[in-house]
Symmetry: C2
Subunit: 477 residues, 2 copies
């Protein structure tokens, strides 16, 4: 941990974010512009995200595979919207083994095209469907303005690609994954996302419909945290994914794709962190509990350390770390682990050993108020409850923050103020011209039309024409 103080979140959110990532050793800048090195602490967080998602994918019948990262340039050109969307962002390999390649190879920005090519080979009959494949992969998009975790040239993600017999099944899959993402965000990361549908302008290049989970960061900006796309028959037609149906007739398949990326690490940092640093959700935190032994002399150390070692064994079910560094003070350690967002800190001193007790400090409640004085008896059970409560509190805090910064409005002047420091929930006619004008005038974009909304009657906040649904508008990452 470097000695300079972290900027205050409330004073300079952007610098707070950048410096926190470095100080907490989540990631570092790579020697290639726009690329990052994900350091062990950041990667351990991502591995826990992977585990939580991967388990959910497998429970719902999906399997993993690996497709090549090099895609012939001609493949991208087969789907018109897709190539238009991605061609400005491509990294291209033109030399291989010392020779100029006949056909340049694109480093995948996403894999619909190469996977579509393989599916057309693998799918012959309705019996071959559905195909429910996911891959964990690195992808490259040549972005001009980059930001650690949020937008880097190379990033890490999972991309699911499925193929189905009917339009209904594809839509069902798309929504099933959106639910899965929502469940993951809420119940693992304590990030209260809003699931909804993207506008035509904001949808994935080549999709019929894109769904999203949208989260509010602590600067009130929105972060698209995961997306699920119904691709209709667009890619099936471009790549000739056909099958003989139950009546022996040739049909195009219906496909979907969906992804969550290392961007979600950014969502966690900016949903929960505070002036002291990270606050990590306990179910994903690389270290859930840190134990700091407290002693001032060798005698006290001899008393404390055996109990600490014993406790470490007793708490094997948690992700635990004993900080037994000799060259720094307990106070330094407290600050260090607070910066790194470890949910619980256990302090044990000689007095605690005598009393068969210990002190638990909770990262999200500063000072004495957050301290719990516990008996060693049934300590694992007690900590399980405390971690669950921690998760619930974090989720509640983020939900309260979000809800207090979303404002329903039917007035464009009000709207313009709202989106300076929150989200506006307003009727929109669905017209791309209104959406573009709002973006131009306020920098706020449509985030999503939430799925749980009933149709109603209103007037577009911009043009006043009739509108059936409200949409969330916000500035976004």
């Amino acid at each position: 941990m470097s000695e300079e103080k972290l900027p205050k979140q409330s004073e300079n959110f952007s610098e707070w974010y950048n410096q926190l990532i470095q100080k907490a050793e989540l990631a570092d800048y790579a020697p290639v512009r726009g690329c990052m090195v994900v350091r062990p602490y950041g990667w351990a967080l991502w591995e826990n995200i992977q585990k939580a998602l991967d388990g959910r994918f497998k429970e719902t019948g999906h399997v993993n595979a690996a497709f090549p990262m090099f895609i012939p340039m001609s493949f991208l050109e087969k789907e018109k919207e897709h190539v238009e969307g991605f061609s400005p962002e491509l990294a291209i390999v033109t030399i291989g083994g010392g020779q100029t390649l006949e056909e340049p190879l694109v480093v995948r920005p996403t894999s619909e095209t190469i996977i579509g090519h393989m599916y057309s080979k693998w799918v012959q009959s309705y019996r071959d469907l559905p195909i429910l494949i996911n891959q964990w992969a690195n992808v490259v998009r040549w972005e001009m303005r980059t930001r650690m975790f949020l937008r880097t040239l190379e990033f890490y993600w999972q991309e699911g690609h499925t193929a189905h017999e009917t339009a209904e099944e594809a839509e069902e899959e798309t929504l099933k994954i959106l639910d899965l993402y929502t469940d993951f965000a809420v119940n693992e990361a304590a990030v209260p996302v809003i699931p909804g549908i993207k506008s035509e302008a904001e949808k994935f290049a080549g999709a019929n419909r894109s769904y999203t989970i949208e989260a509010m960061m602590r600067d009130t900006k929105a972060l698209q945290s995961g997306t699920s796309h119904n691709l209709g028959q667009n890619f099936a037609k471009a790549f000739d994914i056909t099958y003989l149906d139950r009546n022996n007739e040739l049909q195009y398949a219906w496909t979907t794709s969906w992804g969550v990326s290392t961007r979600f690490v950014g969502a966690i940092i900016m949903s929960h962190g505070d002036d002291q640093g990270l606050i990590l959700p306990p179910r994903l935190a690389p270290i859930q509990i840190v134990i700091v032994p407290i002693y001032k002399n060798e005698e006290a150390k001899q008393k404390v350390m055996p109990v600490v070692k014993q406790l470490e064994k007793q708490l094997k079910q948690f992700r635990i770390k004993v900080d037994d560094r000799e060259n720094v003070t307990p106070g330094f350690k407290f600050n260090d682990w607070e910066l790194r967002g470890v949910p619980l800190r256990i302090e044990i001193g000689p007095r605690d050993v005598e009393n068969n007790s210990l002190v638990v400090a909770q990262r999200d409640i500063p000072g004495k108020e957050g301290k719990l004085f516990l008996s060693m008896d049934h300590i694992a059970d007690q900590l399980t409850t405390i971690l669950d409560d921690f998760h619930n509190r974090l989720l509640q805090r983020a939900t309260d923050f979000r809800d207090s910064h979303i404002h329903k409005t039917d007035n464009y002047e009000e709207f313009k103020n709202i989106v300076q420091q929150g989200w506006a929930y307003a009727y929109w006619c669905g017209n791309a011209a209104c959406e573009a004008a709002i973006k131009d005038e306020t920098k706020a974009t449509t985030r999503c039309r939430p799925l749980d909304q009933e149709k109603s009657e209103g007037k577009c906040v911009y043009c006043g024409e009739s509108a059936e649904y409200r949409t969330y508008f916000a500035k976004a990452y």
Copy 2:
């Protein structure tokens, strides 16, 4: 599964290998030359390899991270041997975001250089050492002759990169990992590898010493299945990885690197498979047990299926699959799962239900001899033992095969015959000229000098000069 018959292993080993990979759906050819698509069954096998290795890395104090796949061309040039070794095999990105790049980017063939650059930033003091980082990554080497899993342009691996205070610690790490790899190969994959040291000609480009685990395939060719390199201070000097030691003096660090790749999937296929197809080691097999219900009519089905469902629940601790396909016969299913190398097949028919029994067919023992007739009581415990026995039998079979195809020799004429269908274990003076001449005349290369060998006195099998150690010579993949 395609209907064409698999070529016999003994008649055309190479075609047997290629077709088996396709038929068993481990992998498929990608639309880019030399690249493969790892299909779900193959990827599940690789995931189990990953789990087994990753657990061992973490137990020995290593952590995972992720470094960028793009490396500035100038980085590679900083270590002379390294760039000479890798420059003919590079894939190079010259265009990004529509612009020609000022400095071309290499797609990593391995990551010593970019990781060395980061370590020089992270390491200041002896307190920052050791660094024990691993990454799971894709890498690219532009090979001319490619082969599924064994040599593909893009492949998947783990690469460990560590930095230490002393030469001794670096050597200890290098050997610790070699041990770890050996333990993994033997105890997870049932592949009886020989750990040893590589010759100067065969070592990694930029290493001081390379260690290897060498396995014999069923065509008697050798396969290098994992390597661990002591890099000395070569990369520390090239990338300025320096630290203040305990006496406050500036020192170069000592580094190591080590890797196991998807090539190991090839090792498993070629160590254990037979004319019927794959035989997968139970501890890594994606499916350990397949249950095939046997019935001829609806009445029998009603009797059998509830028991099958119940059994599936009872055997949750195993990786299990119920093959309840209605459109193929049990005989077809038997062949299918034999081809795919599932260790155990449970058959349950109406008679078994009545008798509270079941039949277990063991993949490695063909016909009736391999069949076990078991009671349903304590079935999970019985199967645990049966799978352990299976592993031991597979390891013994591969060891016997290997040992019967290794021949000690002190005569070059004999040597030349031996390496046509096995490995020669012969004294070699250590002179690169002899090694090169042998390779030229016989196609056999030095595989390794085994670590457990005592120094002795002999004469080089090629030149007759005095030699202290025997070395394994073989044709290799």
